[in-house]
């Protein structure tokens, strides 16, 4: 997993922001400000606005007329015409409610979803949201309107973790709503039957959808940092296991690594973007993964 660099946006800071809109804007704008190249380079010829040149922009987009008038470099920006439908599928099962420090996986996932929705809408893409546990609990179909963002953010705002995970079923269910080719973004801890989840993801690829998987894991899930023997209670089924963290840590990490590697390998084979995200990871780091995938859809 890629380690976040200094200067990126700490999810804990994001969590302190009052509304989801603020959080999304904070993440996305901060992210964009850090980019050397504009992410909004559209394909249509309809002019949208000027933006001050920043190093890294292609010189062919410099508006020389404006330079002539103002003696400053501006690049032309165009209103992009998009036919991309983005579906953000957010896991809200009970296991997503786990946090070892500061922020739950669900919170992280919802910030990520909000940021992605914001970014996508800002790129003139349609974006929809589906939240699920055993099945899809809420589905907001993709729209491109600006008011649509508030709908999504409102839903994310009131999101709480609930029940057992059923990723496979939920993905199958989503399949019924995605008739046209689009971008499926799965945000989940993927703690479900691995083979079924992979089959469902492959199904989307089969339907020519682009798929990005954000695999969220808490640092405690990755490291099992507990010192003493303790009872660990499963958040989904309530099962209790007496755990000797010191003893099993190595073995646990091996099993987890194998679990992650299986996802990574299978996703790679199926041309699915897989992104393992530690909830300590800055949110904008996750956005980078999205944009990389977005380019491919162009």
């Amino acid at each position: 997993m890629q380690e976040p660099k200094k200067g990126y946006i700490d999810p804990l800071i994001v969590a302190k922001l009052s509304t989801m809109l603020l959080r999304a804007r904070f993440v996305v704008e901060g992210f964009i400000a850090g980019l050397h190249q504009s992410p909004y380079r559209g394909f249509s010829l309809e002019f949208a606005q000027h933006r001050e040149y920043s190093p890294g922009d292609e010189t062919r987009h410099v508006d020389w007329k404006v330079y002539g008038r103002k003696d400053k470099y501006f690049v032309k920006q165009y209103q992009e015409e998009t036919n991309l439908k983005g579906y953000i599928l957010l896991d809200r099962s009970a296991s997503m409610g786990y946090m070892s420090k500061g922020i739950t996986k669900l919170q992280y996932g919802s910030y990520l979803a909000a940021s992605l929705a914001y970014l996508m809408l800002r790129q003139q893409d349609s974006v929809g949201l589906a939240t699920f546990d055993e099945k899809i609990k809420k589905y907001i179909p993709p729209r491109q309107s600006k008011g649509h963002l508030s709908l999504i953010l409102e839903e994310l705002e009131k999101l709480v973790s609930s029940s057992l995970t059923g990723i496979n079923r939920s993905l199958r269910e989503l399949g019924q709503y995605t008739k046209r080719r689009g971008l499926i973004i799965l945000i989940s801890d993927l703690l479900d039957e691995q083979e079924k989840v992979l089959n469902a993801l492959k199904y989307f690829r089969f339907k020519k959808h682009e798929v990005i998987v954000f695999h969220l894991l808490d640092p405690a899930e990755l490291e099992l940092p507990f010192a003493d023997v303790l009872w660990l209670e499963d958040m989904e089924n309530g099962k209790r296991v007496l755990t000797h963290p010191e003893i099993i840590r190595e073995k646990y990490k091996n099993i987890l690594e194998e679990f992650v590697e299986t996802y990574k390998l299978n996703c790679l084979r199926s041309d699915i973007d897989y992104c393992l995200i530690n909830t300590k990871t800055p949110l904008d780091f996750a956005l980078g993964a999205y944009l990389a995938r977005r380019k491919m859809l162009r």
Partner: protein, 726 residues
């Protein structure tokens, strides 16, 4: 096996063993419950790892407890005893009786050292092991118990000095008296730590009569340690007997030596020599003399074989000699000493009481024939006997000293000269045979020869020949030397002779019936004068011709008469010439009639001299000394009639005791003999001290525990600090 501790107070520290368990119990806390996204991977990881971990933890707990246990035990200094019965009371001195076998089998030489010398060294080593306050007594045991230090003492200097004085004996082994003595001495000791240490070759002959019951003083609390010096696969050959009866001039003498092979295997071409030397040229210490014959012989394992030597004695006299086999590892039984007499022919005087016109009709016809059977012209064999026949009238002209035996055959005249001559003859050691007949008057005989006759004559008993009634010999004393040859039946059957007439007699209490007719009728009676050195007298109650019986016509007559003559002739020598004495025997030596010397000087085979004063009583006139302790030729010197007289005795080992048999008693058999005693046999001399100390004081196992402790520590470190995988 039991365990005791030299510092048992440290055992109070044993509760520290529970420290790891207590720490474990005290450090156990109730685990908190915490929520976790999914326990699926936790479960997977726990299944094998936790089980292994718990097992490891359990092993570690046990290891740590064991480490503390070992530490505590190390301080307490544990001692292990394999034989708890041998356990000594702590801090109490020991009382030991050391018995050293000094029987002649201990003279067996191995690697240039006799077993006895080794036994003394072993005893010295045992004495060195003694701690302050330990007491010991030392005895040499063979068939006699010889104290070196007869009381329990802790004076090591005395013990060491006396031990050095101990010497090997030439006696056989009899362990019972020595062991009994040891128990008796230990009864006097108040110490609970008492032991008998027997250093021996475990020869099988020494254990007769020993069992838990035969030792009155037996105490089951006394420990019995046997140090076994006998290594297996031993070979030994002994000369067990030399047969050299009275040898007479004129015949080639046969000397038969019995050689016994005590080895497990056959021996071939064993070299045997015989040395014979006349008494007058014999010198103590140089008894070997001239080798007269030698030869080789083969011996079967465990068997006795006879080797015959032949020798022509050059002149009359006493001869001393020995038969010797080539020396082996037990040299003392490789030779057998003997003394023999070579004399001119035995002279026999026959007094014919009824001389006939022809020799055939004379009373002594059959006697003459039986005593000189080889005087015919065709025979080349010389008879060892010389026979002279005289009438009763001619008797007074004979010099009786020239004869060894006198036969009176149906002599009717009991003259004073005859009576006095015979009495003097018998007193001087001569032998007389009275045979009766129709000339004999019972009353006159009883009056004239009453002091000589072994029975009082009564009357003549006649049985009619025509009625075929006769008496046969119904009693034969085969133990008597003259009848021994008839015991096996080889020389004929005396009972086939028929007797028609005989004298009835009243046998004197001191006399002995050798032959008797059926119906308890004495036929041949032996008697002797109650006078020191006197000869023997036979009374034959029938005739020695065919007038009253047909015995002279039977084949048994010749050997009977020959045996009688040889037996009576021997008595003129005052002693049996082939007689040898045994080591350990008390010697009684007759000096014969006449004035006794004031003292007799005795020189033993090593030339050591000592004097003995002769004793004289009704039955005995001679010297008594002994017991003799060494084999060889002993010289007895005394002055009699102003002349030096030298007599010699041959003393040999008691081979019949089976002491020469070097087989050893089995361990199991010894244990059976001492069922109730704690007994330990030590055969590893190199580690003897260690074995004895371990037996008595146990083995301190601190060293072993230290190794174990270090091992446990390493294991603990290894288990508690596993190498991390990179």
């Amino acid at each position: 096996m039991n365990i005791s501790f030299l510092s048992p107070s440290f055992l109070w520290g044993l509760p520290v063993v529970s420290i790891p368990i207590l720490i474990h119990l005290l450090s156990r806390r109730n685990p908190i419950t915490s929520q976790f996204s999914s326990v699926r991977f936790i479960q997977l990881a726990s299944t094998t790892v936790v089980r292994k971990f718990k097992l490891k933890q359990l092993i570690l707990l046990i290891l740590r407890s064991l480490i503390l246990l070992l530490l505590t035990l190390l301080f307490a200094r544990p001692v292990v005893r394999r034989m708890p019965l041998f356990a000594q009371a702590e801090g109490v001195s020991r009382s030991s009786v050391i018995l050293i076998d000094n029987s002649y089998s201990m003279g067996y030489v191995e690697e240039g050292e006799s077993r006895f010398a080794l036994a003394r060294k072993v005893a010295g080593r045992i004495l060195k092991m003694a701690k302050r306050g330990d007491r010991a007594a030392i005895f040499l045991i063979s068939d006699e118990v010889k104290p070196l230090v007869s009381y329990l003492t802790d004076d090591r200097q005395i013990l060491r000095e006396r031990l050095e004085e101990g010497t090997l004996s030439f006696r056989p082994t009899n362990l019972l008296p020595g062991i009994s003595q040891a128990y008796k001495i230990l009864q006097e000791s108040a110490s609970p730590n008492r032991e008998i240490i027997l250093i021996t070759d475990l020869g099988i002959n020494g254990w007769q009569g020993i069992d838990g019951k035969s030792i009155k003083e037996f105490d089951p609390e006394v420990k019995f340690i046997i140090v076994d010096l006998n290594r297996e696969s031993l070979s030994n050959v002994a000369v067990s007997e030399v047969d050299c009866r009275r040898l007479t001039m004129g015949e080639t003498s046969e000397i038969s030596a019995k050689i016994r092979n005590y080895s497990k295997g056959d021996i071939s071409r064993l070299f045997v020599s015989v040395f014979i030397k006349p008494q007058d040229s014999f010198q103590i210490g140089k008894e070997s003399g001239d080798k007269t014959d030698q030869g080789f012989m083969d011996l079967k394992a465990g068997r006795e074989t006879i080797k015959d030597f032949f020798y022509d004695f050059p002149r009359e006299g006493t001869y001393l000699g020995k038969v010797e086999v080539q020396e082996d590892s037990l040299p003392c039984d490789d030779r057998f000493y003997f003394k023999t007499e070579a004399s001119e022919k035995i002279k026999v005087l026959l007094i014919d009481g009824h001389p006939g016109i022809s020799s055939f009709s004379s009373e002594t016809f059959y006697l003459t024939l039986s005593l000189s059977p080889t005087t015919s012209e065709v025979s080349t064999i010389q008879s060892p006997l010389s026979v002279k026949v005289v009438t009763a009238d001619e008797f007074s002209q004979e010099k009786l000293d020239d004869f060894s035996v006198i036969f009176l055959a149906n002599v009717g005249q009991v003259t004073s000269s005859l009576r006095d001559g015979l009495t003097s003859f018998v007193r001087e050691g001569g032998g007389v045979v009275f045979s009766l007949g129709d000339n004999v008057n019972a009353q006159e005989y009883n009056l004239g020869f009453g002091n000589l006759l072994p029975a009082e004559l009564r009357e003549v008993k006649e049985i009619s020949k025509g009625e075929k009634e006769f008496r046969t010999i119904g009693f034969q004393d085969f133990t008597h030397p003259i009848l021994k040859v008839f015991a096996a039946g080889k020389e004929g059957d005396l009972s086939r002779a028929s007797f028609y007439q005989y004298f009835t007699t009243q046998v004197k209490p001191s006399a002995k019936v050798i032959l008797g007719l059926a119906g308890d009728i004495p036929l041949l009676v032996e008697g002797e004068l109650a006078y020191p050195g006197a000869g023997k007298v036979f009374l034959f109650t029938s005739t020695l011709d065919r007038d009253w019986n047909n015995l002279p016509a039977k084949p048994v007559f010749l050997p009977l008469i020959q045996q009688m003559v040889r037996y009576l002739a021997v008595s003129t020598l005052r002693e049996e010439p082939g007689r040898t004495f045994l080591v350990g025997e008390e010697i009684s030596y007759e000096l014969g009639a006449g004035e006794l010397p004031p003292s007799v000087e005795i020189i033993d085979p090593k030339g050591k001299k000592f004097s003995v004063i002769p004793v004289q009583n009704r039955d005995f006139s001679g010297i008594e000394f002994g017991p003799v302790e060494m084999p060889g030729i002993y010289q007895l010197s005394y002055i009699r009639d102003r002349k030096w007289n030298n007599k010699y005795l041959a003393v040999n080992l008691d081979i019949e005791s089976d002491e020469s048999n070097l087989d050893k008693m089995g361990t199991k058999e010894i244990r059976k003999l001492f069922l109730a005693a704690p007994i330990k046999i030590i055969d590893d001399l190199a580690n003897m001290e260690k074995d004895i100390l371990q037996l008595l004081y146990g083995k301190e196992i601190s060293k072993n525990l230290t190794f174990l402790l270090v091992g446990f520590l390493f294991l603990e470190v290894f288990l508690a600090n596993p190498r991390r995988k990179r």
